[in-house]
């Protein structure tokens, strides 16, 4: 049994959601289809369905992220679950041991699901491996490894605007090296059958193995976004930057910042995406971020429906396991 298979129960249903790696097109499509049904909930008088009534979902955030935590919290509440928010300072000693102690304590409070954000790669896997069998774990971002719910909400946004993935050219621009989002996006785009996935970045912000992930590599923005249908801008992760990988933010913008003039190289109906929070004037010009081709705020709305889908599917797989 590989590590990835702990995501699935014996019927092949999604029990944890830790990484896109090891999943298949059918499952990803099921997530997108289920999310489609949840989008309507936000527009009703009562913005809630009773699906996870009585379940306790714990947002276990070892790394700050108000936005991601908030969308998970809204998603859980729209499913009628009870939500605990825990922001845990990782600077404590003996991380492994305190983490397990924390888990045991929360399990004693009958938590049904952990949503985990951690600065270390593999943290969510670790928690999934050490949780009680009836507990589901969702990865809300672990180190440089993966951020699968963000990738799925991006896929949802692309599908809403462009329909099928086959025939699409998608460019991911910026700090690929430090981006768990990019890694998850590339996996998901390829699984869903995207014709061409491009990454555009300075050499210092590209991981060495990137070509093995099934992408075309560009170092020039104009060249890279020529005729693409979707442009995904990544945030310049200043807090992750170690050493002098870049001369200055200003120079980065000169070379890799998305401006209206540069955007013209893409297809006229290309959409511009960004996982947020955006650094205006660093990776993207305000005119583009607020412009007609930007779908950045839609990503946030869709993120709630996608997280509702993933939460209910993983909790549902727990139910199934018990019934058979």
């Amino acid at each position: 049994m590989s590590d990835q298979n702990i995501q699935l129960n014996e019927d092949g249903r999604l029990k944890h959601f830790l990484t896109i790696d090891g999943l298949n097109k059918t499952l990803l499509t099921e997530i997108l289809d289920t999310a489609e049904s949840f989008t309507g909930v936000s527009e009703r008088t009562v913005k809630k369905v009773p699906l996870l009534r009585g379940k306790v979902i714990c947002n276990l955030f070892f790394e700050n992220s108000t936005r991601t935590r908030t969308t998970f919290e809204v998603a859980a509440k729209r499913l009628s679950a009870d939500v605990l928010n825990l922001n845990i300072n990782t600077s404590a000693t003996a991380k492994g041991e305190t983490l397990l102690d924390t888990l045991r304590n929360l399990e004693a409070m009958h938590v049904d699901m952990f949503v985990v954000r951690h600065a270390d790669s593999g943290a969510a896997h670790f928690i999934a491996n050490h949780s009680a069998p009836h507990v589901s774990v969702i990865n809300a971002g672990d180190g440089r490894h993966s951020h699968p719910t963000q990738a799925m909400l991006d896929m949802f946004t692309i599908r809403r605007h462009k329909g099928e993935f086959t025939g699409l050219r998608v460019a991911i621009v910026g700090d690929i090296m430090h981006s768990r989002v990019a890694r998850s996006q590339i996996l998901a785009l390829n699984l869903l059958g995207t014709s061409e996935v491009r990454v555009i970045a300075p050499r210092t912000l590209l991981p060495a193995h990137v070509r093995t992930m099934g992408v075309h590599v560009y170092h020039d923005l104009m060249e890279g976004i020529k005729d693409v249908d979707v442009i995904i801008m990544l945030r310049l992760q200043k807090e992750r930057m170690r050493g002098a990988l870049l001369p200055s933010e200003h120079e980065y913008f000169q070379l890799f910042g998305l401006t209206q003039a540069r955007l013209a190289a893409a297809k006229p109906d290309a959409i511009v995406m960004h996982p947020g929070p955006i650094n205006r004037g660093v990776e993207i010009d305000s005119v583009v971020a607020d412009g007609p081709q930007s779908v950045i705020l839609q990503q946030v709305s869709f993120g709630i429906a996608v997280r509702m889908a993933i939460m209910s599917m993983t909790m549902g797989a727990q139910a199934q396991g018990g019934a058979r």
Partner: protein, 183 residues
């Protein structure tokens, strides 16, 4: 699957739907409801509702409900992998609603549907129309208009197949199987 037998075919079902439309009209007149709206429950209920909606020439577009998010057996059987969006294209507040489903058995689907409708607003009334009413009720729910009441054994299921042509098929129930069609 080999146990399945056809109970009724398209032409006969069409006849039932015509009778149901007439019964529904007179029922609406008796209750002095002049501008009702109609909601079909996925999947079979929507097929039936489309036909009734057309025959009654209702002004408001047809609404559709997928009650997967309101099922009472989620913790037992999990998420329906083929959930469809619910779509109610009109405000529900103060409306007289005709709720349409294919088969009424336990009544649990109808309970779930009513719960969902109330999350859209407060209707003036809800009346239930089903093609098939069968034994096995577990909740106090009763239809206003019914197409047919076939005598069935407890371990028999009846399913509407479609959308074109419609058919009613009798089969044997499997324990623990998802019972979307027969609720």
């Amino acid at each position: 699957m080999s146990d399945n037998k056809i109970y009724m075919q398209a032409e006969e079902i069409e006849g039932l739907i015509n009778e149901m439309a007439l019964a529904l009209k007179s029922r609406l007149e008796t209750n002095r409801i002049t501008a009702p709206v109609m909601i079909g429950i996925h999947t079979g209920g929507v097929w039936l509702a489309e036909k009734l909606h057309h025959k009654l020439a209702l002004k408001e577009s047809l609404g559709t409900l997928d009650i997967s998010f309101y099922r009472d057996d989620f913790t037992r059987i999990g998420m329906n992998p083929e959930v469809k969006p619910s779509h109610i294209p009109f405000p529900v507040d103060g409306k007289h609603i005709i709720l349409v489903d294919d088969v009424l058995q336990t009544g649990r689907t109808i309970r779930a549907a009513m719960n969902e409708i109330f999350d859209y607003g407060r209707p003036a009334s809800i009346m239930l129309v089903t093609l098939v009413e069968r034994s096995g009720r577990e909740l106090p729910i009763q239809p206003s208009v019914v197409g047919v009441r076939p005598p069935l054994k407890l371990d028999e299921t009846i399913t509407l197949t479609g959308p074109e042509p419609l058919g009613l098929v009798i089969g044997k129930s499997k324990k623990h199987a998802r019972s979307n069609e027969t609720d």
